[in-house]
């Protein structure tokens, strides 16, 4: 089948839909949003993380990012409490948004993302890079602007950071070829996101990998 050569928008939407089905099963928070005229859409997820500061030593925290408890608990943190001023400096809640859109020029999915504090202050690219996994740091340091750029979200029109899609075909090709060879359908979005996600702090739970193998009997 030619689908591995040509990843069209319909295929993109289909794979997103399968991906979201599994996300709903495990409560991973991905959802589909359509553009105003419903001609296209994207997949998105928001999650919150507590980022510990480095200046104030706060018992129980460590330098690093830990996943936040559910949003309701987070919002109960008294940010205007005097004692919490120290807390606020030591550990702040950051809201990460990840959007998966289709690029018709590259004919691949693209990962858009942004991060902000709860008061709306956006995180600078520098801060986001610091959260990038160590194994990708070398490449980012060699040429950061080749990898992550800032662009206007095609549907929302707001500035987002984008993981550049020009190499997507290159690293997806062996996976797709191999899946053809062993006669197994894979979910392009699942495979792709499992590869690019960690670069920007997005890690997919393992159950997506199992879902893929269970879906293999579904014809595309």
């Amino acid at each position: 089948m030619e689908e591995d050569e040509f990843f069209g928008e319909k295929t993109f939407q289909h794979h997103c839909s399968e991906f979201i089905k599994h996300s709903q099963q495990i409560g991973d928070g991905w959802e589909w949003r359509s553009s105003k005229d419903c001609s296209d859409g994207y997949m998105c997820k928001t999650h919150f993380q507590i980022k510990s500061g480095t200046m104030v030593s706060h018992p129980g925290t460590y330098a690093g990012v830990q996943t936040c408890p559910p949003v309701e608990e987070v919002l109960e943190v008294p940010l205007d409490d005097a004692e919490a001023t120290e807390t606020a400096a030591a550990s702040e809640v950051i809201k990460y948004e990840y959007h998966v859109l289709y690029s018709s020029s590259y004919q691949v999915p693209v990962l858009y993302f942004r991060a902000s504090f709860l008061d709306g202050r956006p995180l600078a690219l520098k801060d986001i890079w610091e959260g990038v996994h160590e194994c990708y740091q070398t490449r980012l340091q060699q040429g950061p602007w080749d990898t992550i750029t800032q662009q206007e979200h095609p549907i929302l029109g707001q500035p987002f950071f984008v993981l550049h899609p020009c190499k997507t075909n290159e690293f997806m090709a062996p996976v797709l070829k191999n899946s053809q060879k062993i006669n197994r359908n894979i979910n392009y979005i699942t495979s792709w996101l499992s590869i690019v996600g960690p670069v920007v702090g997005l890690n997919l739970p393992l159950s997506y990998a199992i879902a893929t193998s269970q879906d293999e009997s579904n014809a595309l």
Partner: protein, 140 residues
């Protein structure tokens, strides 16, 4: 950021089979530990109770990636995917700008912090975990 281990998932052993025959594995006896390098820290190896500290991993190349001479490795359960990637890159003498990806089920790249022990629990079969690896100039 720590991922919770997927301990609730119980896979029948057939589900984790990689599909293509494991018959093409070169008949090697259980190989010694990976050569010590910065990426592989020699931890204490005494097994405690019933849990083996090490699991068997079979590494398979995808695409044009060089094939490792030694494919079968005994690896500590706590070794992360990132650690394994670093090890394979050193072993294959890849340059820093080349990316190496590791896949389970030939389709899914576990996050770099994932421990191989967890992967073995979820995807292992016949006493080993099959991992496919692929080289790419991903961000070149």
């Amino acid at each position: 950021m720590a991922e919770e281990p997927e301990s609730v998932l119980q896979l029948p052993s057939t589900a984790a089979a990689s599909g293509e025959g494991l018959m093409d594995v070169s008949p090697e006896t259980a190989t010694p530990e990976p050569p010590s390098s910065a990426a592989v820290s020699p931890g204490t190896e005494e097994p405690s109770g019933d849990t083996k500290k090490k699991i068997d991993i079979l590494l398979k190349a995808v695409g044009d990636t060089p094939i490792m001479k030694t494919k079968k490795w005994a690896v500590e359960r706590t070794r992360t995917i990132q650690g394994l990637i670093d090890f394979i890159k050193k072993f294959l003498k890849l340059v820093a700008s080349e990316q190496l990806f590791i896949y389970v089920n030939q389709s899914f790249a576990p996050s770099p912090d994932q421990e191989v022990g967890t992967l073995y629990e979820c995807f292992g079969s016949d006493g080993k975990l099959v991992l496919h690896y692929c080289k790419s100039q991903a961000w070149g």
